[in-house]
């Protein structure tokens, strides 16, 4: 019933001679909420970049599902700010740039677009900052602006790279509630090393350390980890969401 949005078929990627991703298989369905976990340098961010087409994989095939092709594409919240915060651009302009994926080269913004941007800005509690430039914002406010940019185009798939890094504690609960709401409309893949924070929201896990190991439920057993051999924390997810922290 649920539609397959994206299928990765034995994807391999290397920076120069160092292999970052090897034989990755993954299917993303339209109501998924996948937590992508793994050690630093394990290839989590690269996996997102491969999906976005920012880097080209050397082996394997990516199949985009029908609704990803003619829909509104993929929303993306990068791990670090890739733009210059001193660039003369307003909060509203940045949020509007999330609509560019369905614009042609001429890319005029309509009144409806501006209204939509105002709505998103409002929802994220950034109303008073709509006309501000980015260097006037705190780290958490910036992160919200970029979330707004990622979701304004109603993408079918949302990729979040370490969203917890900058989210200020006052907004953290709101942030995850917001993600849960968004998940009704779009599939979410969220990279995080902060397993404790995300485990309660995640439906399934993908553990990435060069290879990808997929856990259909958000339950990872010790055997999985041993078989896979990645040094991460152990997560279980029962009636009451909880984490078991254990090094191996």
């Amino acid at each position: 019933m649920s539609e397959c949005l994206l299928e990765l078929n034995s994807i391999s990627f290397a920076y120069g001679s160092s292999i970052v991703l090897q034989d990755i298989d993954l299917k993303v369905y339209d109501n998924d909420f996948i937590g992508v976990i793994g050690p630093n340098g394990g290839g989590k961010t690269t996996l997102l970049k491969v999906i976005l087409g920012l880097v080209r994989h050397q082996k394997g095939k990516i199949i985009h599902g029908k609704s990803l092709q003619d829909g509104n594409g993929i929303g993306y919240l990068p791990q670090i700010t890739t733009g210059d915060n001193n660039f003369p651009v307003t909060v509203k302009d940045v949020v509007l740039s999330g609509l560019m994926m369905r614009k042609g080269l001429r890319s005029m913004m309509t009144t409806a677009d501006r209204k939509k941007a105002s709505g998103v800005i409002d929802e994220l509690g950034l109303n008073e900052l709509a006309g501000s430039s980015l260097n006037e914002l705190s780290g958490g406010q910036l992160q919200r602006v970029f979330l707004g940019r990622a979701v304004i185009g109603d993408p079918r798939l949302l990729l979040l790279d370490e969203p917890g890094n900058f989210v200020d504690s006052s907004f953290e609960n709101d942030f995850y509630d917001k993600l849960r709401l968004l998940n009704n409309r779009m599939a979410i893949m969220m990279v995080s090393h902060d397993v404790g924070t995300i485990s309660a929201h995640i439906k399934s896990f993908a553990c990435v350390n060069r290879k990808l190991h997929y856990h259909p439920s958000s339950e990872i057993t010790n055997e999985d980890l041993v078989a896979y051999g990645c040094p991460i924390q152990l997560i279980t997810h029962g009636e009451v969401p909880h984490t078991v922290l254990k090094k191996h």
Binding site: G83, D84, F87, P88, L105, R106, M109
Partner: protein, 276 residues
């Protein structure tokens, strides 16, 4: 009578030159200042001297020589930095001096006296021809159309290139086109301000504009107007005092920049005092 015709010519050329120099420098200047490409642009300006020298030596138009030379060097740097194969600032430093060296070598090899060499270095309205002005006018129209039609595409690519790559396959094409336009704008404005000073003609007006607004579009428009005011005042001074145009324009623009900064500082202080 001869004097008045000469004067009329001089004023007309100056006015037209000021208008089109301000339009081209204001638009491209906003782009390079907000994208932090000032050093690259300074490098392109100096490297273009190599083209001027080659132009002299082979008896072709020095402006044409400079245009070809600077577009190629600008695209070369852009290409290498896209591939991330080089340290961009080092490459610019090398190219900067290399272009000047080529220029000096060819000018020394050129037989005879090179009369308007000084005008290429420091700018002079006396040697500006109507062909130069027509070229600047054409460039102005082209830049207005290009930035007008692709405004948001250019804005978002220059603000966050990596994010733009997630939705557009045309990022590199736009980067290359805009870089070529930067090189051309610099070369065409060399006639006004000279190789050594042209970079300030591009960078000072947007910096004045940015004191008062942070909206990209408004910075462009304000830069054009500030550029025009600075250029015309500087131009009049150069005429009255008999000094090179480039120098007096840059001097005037810098004074305006300092004044604008001071006005802003004072108004901010007054505002905070009132609120305290």
């Amino acid at each position: 009578m001869e004097g008045s015709i000469f004067q009329y010519e001089f004023i007309l050329k100056g006015l037209l030159g000021a208008v089109f120099a301000s339009i081209t420098a204001g638009i491209i200047g906003t782009y390079i200042v907000s994208k932090r490409m000032v050093f690259l642009s300074g490098g392109i300006a100096h490297a273009s001297f190599g083209g001027i020298g080659i132009g002299y030596f082979y008896g072709i138009s020095p402006v044409l020589g400079a245009a070809i030379f600077s577009i190629l060097s600008a695209l070369g740097i852009e290409f290498l930095s896209v591939r991330q194969k080089i340290r961009e600032d080092s490459a610019i430093g090398i190219l900067w001096a290399f272009g000047m060296a080529i220029g000096i070598i060819f000018i020394y090899l050129t037989p005879g006296y090179t009369p308007d060499l000084m005008s290429y270095l420091f700018g002079s309205i006396l040697t500006v021809s109507y062909r130069d002005i027509t070229a600047l006018a054409t460039m102005s129209v082209f830049l207005i159309l290009y930035f007008g039609i692709f405004y948001r595409t250019i804005l978002y690519i220059s603000y966050d290139e990596q994010f733009a790559r997630t939705y557009s396959p045309y990022v590199n094409i736009f980067k290359y086109i805009t870089t070529a336009l930067i090189a051309l704008t610099i070369v065409l404005n060399i006639r006004m301000a000279g190789v050594v000073l042209v970079i300030s003609l591009l960078t000072i007006p947007p910096n004045i504009a940015m004191i008062f607004t942070k909206v990209y579009k408004r910075i462009m428009v304000a830069s054009v107007f500030t550029g025009f005011i600075g250029t015309s005042i500087g131009y009049s001074i150069s005429y009255k005092a008999g000094i090179p145009t480039g120098a007096s324009i840059i001097f005037t623009l810098t004074v305006i920049w300092i004044l604008a900064k001071s006005v802003k500082q004072i108004s901010v202080r007054l505002h905070t005092d009132k609120n305290l």
